[in-house]
């Protein structure tokens, strides 16, 4: 019986994958892979299907979110694992879990009411921008990174720490030189999952990024991500246009697969050092 349930979940994956590829593939074949991926004109009504600008948008926003989320997340997990006194940890941990539970539309709403006007007033531009999206997505990926990295650090054998301290290392040297490298595979896994969340996020980015289909010129330019493209246009798309959205889905699917493969690869290599 469990096998049946297991097969069900696997087969759902297969059905979805198959469906996306079936629907999207003809269009990629028609337009040509190169024009589809690197073309920067997206005008479905005129038969122009180039998603280059959106790939750039997705990558730029995810990269920006990583720049904000990874350092903050890893430092926070170090603090929680190594420095926080028991009581602080007891407050922080549920607080961070709560951060993970906030619906993305609320993040988007907060972004548009607070982050976007802030950027408009202090940095110029429309405010709806890569920068705003990076900040909000950076915050959204924090709980994933923090909780997984913290577990990775806490679950390290205490002998590493003792051995390092007995060599006359300071606490910081121990963390940087011994504990972080030893917990590397777990931390990388957390980061990749966080990046996956940022890349797949739809609601918040539709609200904050401005959704322009042009190639971004600076971090203050509005962009549209792959997910936003599907989310915005699926309501009214028909025929070839709909196929183009499915094709966008294929690209998204492949990017996330690549991310997972990289994560797997890094994690395995980490294990071999042990």
């Amino acid at each position: 019986m469990f096998l049946i349930f297991a097969l069900t979940s696997i087969s759902v994956l297969a059905v979805i994958t198959g469906f996306i590829f079936m629907q999207g593939f003809p269009l990629i074949a028609d337009v040509g892979l190169r024009d589809f991926l690197f073309g920067t004109t997206w005008e479905p009504t005129r038969g122009q299907f180039g998603i280059g600008a959106m790939i750039a948008g997705s990558l730029a926003v995810t990269f920006g979110a990583a720049l904000i989320g990874i350092p903050v997340g890893i430092c926070c997990s170090i603090f929680m694992a190594e420095f926080a006194p028991g009581i602080v940890r007891k407050i922080f941990r549920p607080a961070i879990q709560l951060l993970a539970g906030i619906p993305s539309v609320v993040y988007g709403f907060w972004g548009i009411m607070f982050v976007v006007p802030f950027i408009r007033n202090y940095f110029g531009g429309p405010g709806l921008s890569i920068l705003a999206g990076s900040i909000v997505l950076g915050i959204m990926m924090l709980p994933t990174i923090i909780s997984i990295s913290e577990v990775a650090i806490v679950s390290l054998s205490h002998t590493y720490k003792e051995g390092a301290l007995a060599l006359g290392m300071t606490h910081w040297q121990t963390i940087l030189a011994v504990q972080l490298p030893a917990a590397k595979s777990g931390i990388v896994a957390g980061v990749i999952l966080g990046l996956g969340r940022a890349l797949g996020e739809t609601m918040a980015v539709i609200m904050i990024l401005g959704n322009a289909t042009a190639l971004p010129e600076s971090i203050l330019s509005p962009v549209r991500t792959l997910t936003a493209n599907i989310g915005l246009e699926m309501g009214y798309a028909t025929g070839v246009h709909r196929q183009a959205l499915f094709a966008t889905g294929i690209v998204l699917f492949i990017i996330i697969m690549l991310l997972n493969i990289i994560a797997q690869h890094l994690t395995n290599r980490g294990d071999m050092i042990e």
Partner: protein, 232 residues
């Protein structure tokens, strides 16, 4: 000459008094065994000598411990410098997740040894002192975790010796080891006492008999008896 003087020392974990009114002088260049049944405070006493006990948040102490006539609890004492000078080997081997060579050279690199080319030389010397060199000389780049338990323990001793400590603390370092590794470690300790003061918590009384000139018995954190020229 007394290398270490422990004066009216009490040590607490929270409300639990682990060491009671302890007084002891440890002589330089000898191997002193601190022996007691399980849970009698021997490990804690060793941990106090290089202030490893500081790591526990509930730890408190009273009294004083002097090394070379200076209190190790004085506010200006650098704990990390103290731990380099008073090296400790634990009951369970504590290899760091890196290669054998890096394990042994890590402490040296932290000290910013001026001439880098001396590092391989010191690593070899330390591994020889710990009676491990012949077994690992062809695989210094292997991860330390690939060594057997006994080899790991000897590597940990080598790692501490590389820092040229004045005092070497060994906490039941042979408890998990086979007799051959144990004999090798004991042999190295006998040679090393010319250069340093060794305090060991032996894992059995025969070991205390084999290697140490002075045996101190403790029970429930209290000093019971000190026997110099100890023979069963």
């Amino acid at each position: 000459m007394n290398k270490i003087e422990i004066k009216d020392f009490n040590f607490f974990y929270g409300k639990n008094r682990v060491i009671r009114n302890f007084n002891l002088n440890i002589e330089a260049n000898k191997i002193t065994s601190i022996f007691g049944p399980a849970n009698s405070g021997t490990t804690t006493l060793l941990c106090c000598l290089n202030r490893f006990c500081d790591l526990n948040n509930e730890a408190r102490y009273s009294g004083d411990i002097l090394i070379d006539g200076k209190s190790i609890f004085a506010p200006k004492v650098s704990v990390t410098a103290l731990r380099r000078r008073v090296g400790m080997v634990f009951e369970v081997p504590t290899p760091l997740p890196m290669s054998i060579f890096d394990n042994v050279s890590y402490g040296l690199r932290l000290l910013h040894v001026k001439r880098k080319q001396r590092i391989p030389e010191i690593v070899e010397m330390s591994l020889r002192q710990a009676a491990l060199w012949d077994e690992v000389k062809n695989r210094l780049n292997f991860p330390a975790a690939s060594l057997s338990g006994g080899q790991q323990q000897r590597m940990c001793i080598a790692r501490i010796l590389a820092l040229e400590p004045d005092v070497l603390l060994i906490d039941r370092a042979c408890s998990g080891l086979d007799p051959i590794s144990t004999a090798k470690i004991e042999g190295s300790l006998m040679r090393l006492k010319k250069q340093m003061t060794i305090v060991i918590s032996p894992h059995n009384i025969q070991q205390a008999n084999r290697i140490s000139e002075c045996v101190v018995f403790m029970q429930k954190g209290e000093w019971v008896e000190k026997i110099t020229d100890f023979r069963i």
